[in-house]
């Protein structure tokens, strides 16, 4: 179950400050990296909500993000709608898509759930890939960023955009944390731990899981809107299952079921990738080895491990949702 512990609050703030400093004082490319981290972190938070708390390891989170991005881009760039309503429609589309996937997959568990979400995600990917109106695999451009000039913000300035991204990351985290502390979030954890008993307590677990997916779709959708506005361009690449795979690596690397972990994981993965790719084209192998090592080291992830040591040290018995590797296949 989720608790916003002091350690988590401090880590969250430290991570945000680090990102803000990195973007402000680093080179131009540092901002690009920070935005990449923000997008990946929000997507990973959304996945952590499903996988870490609900036990639903989804491979369609990229698709959830992509549906929002496409929804936003289609409404604004193709149909000429104003930006904010377009973004809302994008988010709404992601919520509907994720809710539907959640609803039809709610009876499946473990590897079957993974495969079912893979199937729906890939169907969405194929849809956009084949859509010639939307440029197929080449995607389309002409997307603009929110006009915030009335509050004095120039979103086309990369630093301003990065700061806005950080604010949205904080909002995504805050919203997810609040929901995970609510009756809804705790019940989701309960379903993960013992679905049968939850049913016996009168909870419609299938509907609950579907709602959790829909909410997760909303958070993933935020990442999608930022991604579309960041590149001002959109292509089906966003939806492909490996995007979800990458988000999963981030969650595992940072710490499953911690919400802060995904942010740490995203920072580590993106920085690692950029550092290593400066020296070798074979950074995939490195990421693979890091993933293997993380799992072999106990699967708690970097933040999860720190939290584990911290809790041991302080001897304060705080119930934290530890990684559950025991989903029934």
């Amino acid at each position: 179950m989720f608790y916003q512990t002091k350690l988590r609050s401090i880590t969250l703030i430290a991570a945000l400050i680090f990102l803000a400093c990195y973007a402000s004082f680093g080179s131009y490319f540092a901002r690009e990296i920070v935005v990449e981290i923000i997008i990946l972190a929000i997507l990973a938070i959304s996945l952590d909500l499903c996988a870490g708390f609900g036990g639903m390891v989804s491979l369609c989170h990229g698709a959830m993000m992509g549906v929002a991005a496409y929804g936003f881009a289609i409404m604004s760039a193709k149909l000429g709608w104003p930006l904010f309503p377009s973004a809302l429609i994008g988010l709404f589309a992601a919520v509907v898509f994720s809710g539907l996937v959640g609803w039809v997959t709610s009876r499946t568990n473990g590897i079957f759930f993974i495969m079912a979400t893979l199937a729906f995600g890939q169907m969405a990917y194929t849809f956009f890939f084949k859509s010639r109106w939307l440029g197929g695999d080449d995607g389309f451009g002409g997307i603009s960023r929110f006009d915030l000039s009335m509050i004095g913000l120039e979103t086309n300035d990369s630093l301003v955009f990065t700061y806005i991204g950080l604010v949205i990351l904080l909002l995504a985290y805050g919203l997810t944390a609040i929901v995970m502390r609510s009756g809804f979030g705790r019940t989701l954890s309960g379903i993960h731990v013992n679905e049968d008993r939850m049913k016996a307590l009168g909870v419609n677990t299938a509907a609950h899981r579907a709602k959790a997916m829909a909410f997760s779709g909303f958070i993933a959708g935020l990442a999608g809107i930022i991604a579309a506005q960041h590149t001002l361009y959109i292509s089906p690449e966003l939806l492909i299952w490996t995007t979800s795979g990458e988000a999963l690596i981030v969650v595992i690397l940072g710490g499953l079921g911690t919400l802060v972990g995904p942010i740490i994981g995203a920072i580590l993965l993106v920085l690692m990738k950029h550092e290593i790719s400066n020296y070798t084209d074979y950074w995939h192998a490195f990421i693979g080895l890091v993933l293997i090592f993380t799992v072999l080291a106990g699967g708690r992830g970097v933040f999860g491990q720190i939290e584990y040591w911290f809790n041991k040290l302080t001897q304060k018995h705080q119930s934290t949702t530890k990684p559950h590797g025991d989903d029934h296949a």
């Binding site: 609040i178 609510s182 009756g183 979030g185 705790r186 939850m198 016996a200 307590l201 609950h208």
Partner: protein
């Protein structure tokens, strides 16, 4: 006016030809404590599955408070007020006892779909947790993780989870299975202190407990009802002695 809380009419269940429950009828009045007795394999737990909705009957009807519920699934029946404690612990193992009760209380109070308010700060949920903890003697163990709690405490929590939903009808499947005499005493007290607006069906092997709390006793054998009567009548009945006490005398 409804005079029965639970009405079961010619209920049958077979698994691929094997009759587990056969033409069983029951009538339980509101507030009654009904004990179900029977040797292993008599179909007691299956009966609970049928009542709770985790199994579908092959035949027959079930009414709760006058309402036909046979077609409802477990979730819907739970919402109508049927709660169940399990013979084998079926708890939220990785969570604390408080969290377990919190989940049950949130579900019962309709708060499990609330998306924004922190459940641990809900006054009525906290009140419910405290009440139940007191009822099942777990006030001091609330922050212990279930996985590390003692077996007895887990049995208490098993009942606590069911009670936390404030059911109309409580199905208790061998609440004392595997616990020592001290603990049985506790359960005895617990049952006696339960408010009378809860109707209770208990499967119980401890005869002192069973006879002590029961208003009426129903005896099952091979899925059929073979006897029904007061504890005194049951004690004196030869058939019951034969089929139950004769074979199952070495009760836990």
């Amino acid at each position: 006016m409804v005079t029965t809380m639970l009405e079961v009419k010619s209920l049958s269940k077979d698994f691929g030809g094997l009759q587990v429950i056969h033409d069983l009828s029951l009538s339980v009045t509101p507030g009654e404590r009904r004990v179900i007795l029977g040797p292993n394999g008599a179909g007691k737990t299956t009966l609970f599955h049928l009542l709770a909705g985790t199994l579908k009957p092959s035949n027959g009807e079930i009414f709760l408070d006058g309402q036909p519920i046979s077609t409802y699934d477990a979730v819907k029946r739970a919402r109508l007020g049927i709660a169940r404690s399990y013979q084998k612990n079926n708890l939220f193992e990785t969570l604390t006892i408080r969290e377990n009760l919190m989940l049950a209380a949130a579900a019962a109070l309709g708060k499990s779909t609330h998306m924004f308010k922190d459940t641990s700060k809900h006054a009525d949920i906290r009140q419910r947790i405290d009440e139940i903890a007191e009822q099942v003697f777990l006030e001091d163990q609330l922050d212990q993780t279930v996985a590390t709690a003692s077996y007895g405490n887990r049995r208490q929590l098993e009942v606590g989870l069911a009670l936390a939903t404030r059911p109309k009808l409580l199905l208790m499947d061998e609440p004392t299975s595997g616990v020592g005499p001290n603990m049985i005493d506790r359960f005895h007290r617990l049952l006696e202190q339960l408010p009378r607006d809860i109707t209770v069906l208990i499967i119980e092997h401890d005869m002192d407990l069973a006879f002590g709390v029961a208003d009426l006793i129903t005896v099952l054998n091979f899925g059929e009802k073979v006897f029904e009567g007061t504890p005194t009548d049951t004690r004196g009945n030869a058939t019951v002695r034969d089929i139950y006490l004769g074979t199952g005398g070495d009760h836990a």
